[in-house]
Symmetry: C2
Subunit: 244 residues, 2 copies
């Protein structure tokens, strides 16, 4: 992680030229460490920075009512996060570290300069934002239209797909640093029901559990049943303007 992790991420989709790399390197300077559970940005607090995740695993959430919480999205190394605060002077979501993390702050103004200096990257960021948007629609659809077992399977498949991008290989199991309460908050379920649903998935042989380690046993059928689509591995870049 010596070099820019945003560069690495964008480089997956596009061959970056020297000028683009230089601009990105300028932006991604300085870093900040977070322990698991710490919050980086709080809903409705003033905010003039975004962040790039360099290491670790985070999530964004909002609270609902006095007690409730909805987890909106999980973020991994290379993600540009806090974008919910772009459109306003305050943050619309809370950013929390799931595991220990390292992030780089990016002042909104720097983003503005990036848009001016590197239109091709601006377009790519726009495309990635669109892809994340679609990933969130997927979540919306599963919460709105699927029962608990399918919602949960889909989320596990989503996490697996996203970890594979970073892991760089085909893995079929991973450590899940989330509590069942977290899972419930992401899926619109209570922790009790998450627990029973996990057991059901285990009983019917879809997944295996050992401690916090999850193994996806029957990935093919889970994908078929839940209609999961990986939104991260490919992003279209053909429409982007030429690099400057």
């Amino acid at each position: 992680m010596q070099s820019s992790s945003l560069t690495a991420r964008l480089g997956q989709y596009l061959e970056l030229n020297e000028s683009e790399r230089r601009t990105l390197a300028q932006i991604e300077r300085g870093e900040q460490s977070l322990r698991a559970g710490e919050t980086l940005m709080a809903e409705s607090r003033k905010s003039d920075s975004l962040y790039i995740v360099r290491q670790g695993w985070m999530h964004s959430s909002v609270r609902s009512g006095r007690d409730g919480r909805q987890i909106l999205m999980f973020h991994y190394a290379g993600d540009l996060i806090g974008t919910s605060s772009i459109a306003w002077a305050w943050a619309a979501t809370t950013l929390t570290a799931v595991s220990d993390c390292v992030v780089t702050p990016v002042p909104k103004v720097s983003l503005g300069l990036l848009f001016k200096a590197q239109p091709r990257i601006a377009g790519l960021l726009y495309a990635i934002a669109a892809a994340e948007n679609v990933a969130m629609s997927d979540r919306l659809t599963s919460i709105g239209r699927m029962e608990a077992a399918d919602r949960l399977s889909r989320l596990l498949l989503d996490i697996l797909a996203r970890l594979r991008v970073t892991a760089g290989g085909i893995i079929d199991s991973f450590d899940l640093p989330l509590t069942q309460t977290d899972l419930g908050d992401a899926l619109g379920l209570t922790k009790v029901h998450v627990n029973r649903t996990l057991q059901a998935l285990e009983r019917n042989g879809s997944i295996g559990r050992t401690g916090r380690r999850i193994r996806i046993i029957d990935e093919v059928s889970l994908i078929a049943v839940t209609g999961f689509i990986d939104r991260y591995s490919v992003v279209a870049t053909d429409w982007l303007p030429a690099a400057s």
Copy 2:
């Protein structure tokens, strides 16, 4: 609607200069009419255009399973839609006209050129996309964490807020061109339950119904109860680069 409706929309947030207006005018040429119910773009079909809504009311949706459908978002005059197809060569959502509509196609490549020529507008589009994303998180939160009556009230408040932007004044009632099935598909409920919930809201004096016309009677308390926040009226523009 002689002039560009995207220009009008963006102009709400930003004072556009001559060069920006000219670029936008170039993009927004040609138009296409749709009758209520017609689909403009179909999920998983190839797509190389976005669209600007000039008149009417549309929605984007995805199907889930054999029968189900989730409505993700409603779109009104001035919105740039079909952005779910930016990140891939095919569309991720279906666009359907709710009422009779007029739209202008915008080839993705034109968007690329726009990003290059007018970085300030590119930034603004990015900010608007972020705002829409947050609006969708709001929906996600209500479906995941609220009961039927609150979900429905929140959606009605959302529609009201959005129509006010176009109506330009304070209105408290509107014609709802959606069937109860549509409402259910947007809220993750069945049409039967939508019906009973509407009646409940009417009975307790929150809303009034006459035909397809909805009147929001007790807006203040509905906002308080549901925690609704208007995400459309303000968008931060201070971080944008200078216009070119």
